[in-house]
Symmetry: C2
Subunit: 411 residues, 2 copies
């Protein structure tokens, strides 16, 4: 028997609360969401209070208000960022709040906006929110990123469906991707978590010095820092509580050594970044720094992105996802990194996760850099995987072992 | 020819920006609004940027999220108030922002909520936002309160109409009340402003020592402070810019002397306060303090209200509105003070406006109290007018002059 939309929506809300942020009794919960997602957000709020949340703070946004700002506000205003926003995040961190972001932005929202305004905003916001980003990237607090459809996003994913069917189709795709359509989603996630952790344990045991990626348009060697740690699926915050930082998640990932990346890599899926699409691009590295970029679409936006700061010219994440992952086999291009990165091997421009190196959660910025972990105000994943990608792990002594062959796990 | 809904909505948005807050080039604008009002809010945002606003910050709320909090959150959480909220208001005041609140709350939103939670929240929020309230009540910044329908509010106002007609009917009533349905609403407001200012000038010239109200259920004498000033319609902020604090507004008002109120007064319209209705109530005063209250509906909520602090046991505003005001003759009971207070003579429990006494904008709290101006964390208007109300002005020498007879201006 098919589950109804309402049943799936309720299961998804429960998953977000129980598995995503894993709200604890007496804990505040921050939810960042679009006003278009109100029906789902209200369900999440209800489930969170039922799980014992002390206060659920919903920080609503609206795509159209954002678009109007980029269209009409003076350029100088984009280099100002209100103090109360980082103050709010810090106060919530100090209260041990959990953070849930429900993404739904239209992939084309800012396609007509001035790229200077976008770049200035990203840089200004990135600097202002550094404390928050560090708390999240070191897993100090519980956090999760999940998604809900907006009409514009659904139209981008399913342009050939009748308008009335687009949002329901995207809901169905999301339910499937996050296992909300299974009989017991919480149990399904527990099992999924275990599967990914087996890969993590194998990779952590091998301690590769380098990874070598080859595919059409790609020949890239990435050094890994001494003491690097692979991670995947469930995380653990500073209080010892489990959470799931992304739903869906199909990846295992670690950090690259920021000075040991050489060669070139080509994108295999469009990247939706800040309301714009960047597509068919190639990035070249020399000694860890980006030395050249080219893109068939969105080259301006990509060039602005890598100018955000020094760290935006290197990588902060390497992630492995088999080409046969459920999201990949769905054949749906989501134009949203939360989904598309879980259908493909990917890398991230920008900052590295502190928890991906031994002792990293206790290191300051300088210590992390000394260990090879890149620091930046930005962190943007991009997709490079395909069924033609091979990846070798290279041990300290130069021995090569296959990790991926033809886009699939080779061990 | 009838104007279309879209034309009226656009005129209303323009009025809110040009007459309500009167946004200046380079000025930030804060908008507090419900997510249900998104269509109208987006129009206001657009008009504000077109008028030169540097940044429009929309602080969205949702009735259902609020209701869930009162239903499910622990009682102790209502005595905590986040620091970032007053910090945000203060930062905006320091930036000389304008403040627009678009009200739409269901009058019955919290009718099943625990009155202790409501009272605790009102007290906690009132204390936390004291700095903001003082900036607004002394006209330091430009501010306006306007309204937009929500489905639940429209259903309360028009319970006998088919559901699909309720929101459009409330929009029409609002358009009419704020003159958005006239050919040139900005010019209509200029004329209206002049009419109210004629009444203000007359009353300021008379310098009455006391007002004496009589009507069925009412026999109340209210002393006015030395140097009190009547006000109405347009206000002027600290930078010298005009704004309209309420739209609609049909009142002229001043402050009572907080220690010189004696007698009893009966409500003539239900009062919608904090998601509850208080109806058919009577308040008795002795030497400026409330000595007794009784209410057929909502007595608990009323009793909690007057316990908020010492100032909640006295009055902060006396306002005169003829019974023939356009909102009154519409015959619509709005269950929303922004409208209902402009259909009726009214008083306000709580804090007094500093600009309603000579030199008041420069006085601190102690000086204002010394001049007889009540101070409180709350300010709640309630309606007492009817076609049977007479009001006399009493001069220092005891001479009586008619101000209202049978609910209408008598001069």
């Amino acid at each position: 028997m098919m589950a109804t939309f309402e049943e799936n929506l309720e299961k998804y809300a429960e998953l977000a609360v129980k598995v995503g942020v894993n709200v604890q009794p007496g804990q505040p919960l921050y939810i960042g969401a679009s006003i278009e997602s109100a029906e789902f957000v209200r369900l999440v709020v209800k489930k969170a209070y039922e799980a014992g949340a002390s206060h659920v703070i919903v920080d609503w946004g609206d795509d159209e208000v954002t678009r109007l700002r980029y269209e009409l506000a003076p350029e100088a205003s984009f280099s100002e960022f209100p103090d109360w926003i980082p103050a709010m995040r810090q106060e919530l961190i100090d209260m041990n709040a959990a953070f849930m972001n429900i993404v739904s932005q239209s992939p084309d929202l800012l396609k007509n906006a001035d790229p200077n305004k976008i770049a200035t905003f990203q840089k200004t916001a990135g600097q202002a929110l550094e404390g928050y980003r560090q708390a999240v990237q070191s897993d100090k607090v519980s956090w999760t990123v999940i998604a809900a459809p907006s009409a514009a996003w659904a139209a981008k994913v399913f342009p050939d469906k009748p308008e009335a069917d687009q949002v329901p189709a995207l809901w169905d795709a999301i339910f499937k991707a996050v296992r909300a359509d299974t009989e017991d989603p919480v149990a399904a996630w527990k099992k999924h978590d275990e599967t990914l952790h087996e890969k993590v344990e194998h990779l952590n045991e091998r301690k590769y010095a380098k990874l070598h990626y080859t595919a059409p348009g790609t020949d890239l060697t990435i050094g890994l820092p001494e003491g690097h740690l692979w991670a995947g699926a469930g995380s653990i915050n500073a209080k010892g509580n489990e959470f799931m930082a992304n739903m869906p998640t199909e990846e295992v990932f670690t950090v690259p050594h920021k000075d040991r990346i050489d060669g070139y890599v080509s994108s295999t899926k469009p990247l939706s970044y800040s309301g714009n699409i960047i597509d068919n691009f190639k990035i070249t590295f020399e000694s860890g720094r980006i030395s050249a970029v080219e893109a068939e679409q969105g080259e301006d936006v990509l060039k602005h992105l890598i100018e955000a700061d020094e760290g935006a010219k290197s990588l902060g994440e390497v992630a492995l996802v088999p080409h046969s992952s459920p999201i990949s086999t769905s054949g749906i291009l989501f134009f949203n990194t939360l989904f598309d990165e879980n259908a493909s091997n990917h890398l991230a421009i920008g900052s590295a996760y502190a928890f991906c190196v031994e002792g990293g959660k206790e290191m300051d910025r300088a210590e992390l850099e000394a260990h090879g972990l890149n620091q930046s105000i930005t962190h943007v994943d991009f997709m490079i995987g395909s069924d033609q990608m091979d990846i070798d792990g290279i041990l300290d002594d130069g021995t090569r072992e296959p990790i991926f062959r033809g886009g699939e796990w080779a061990f």
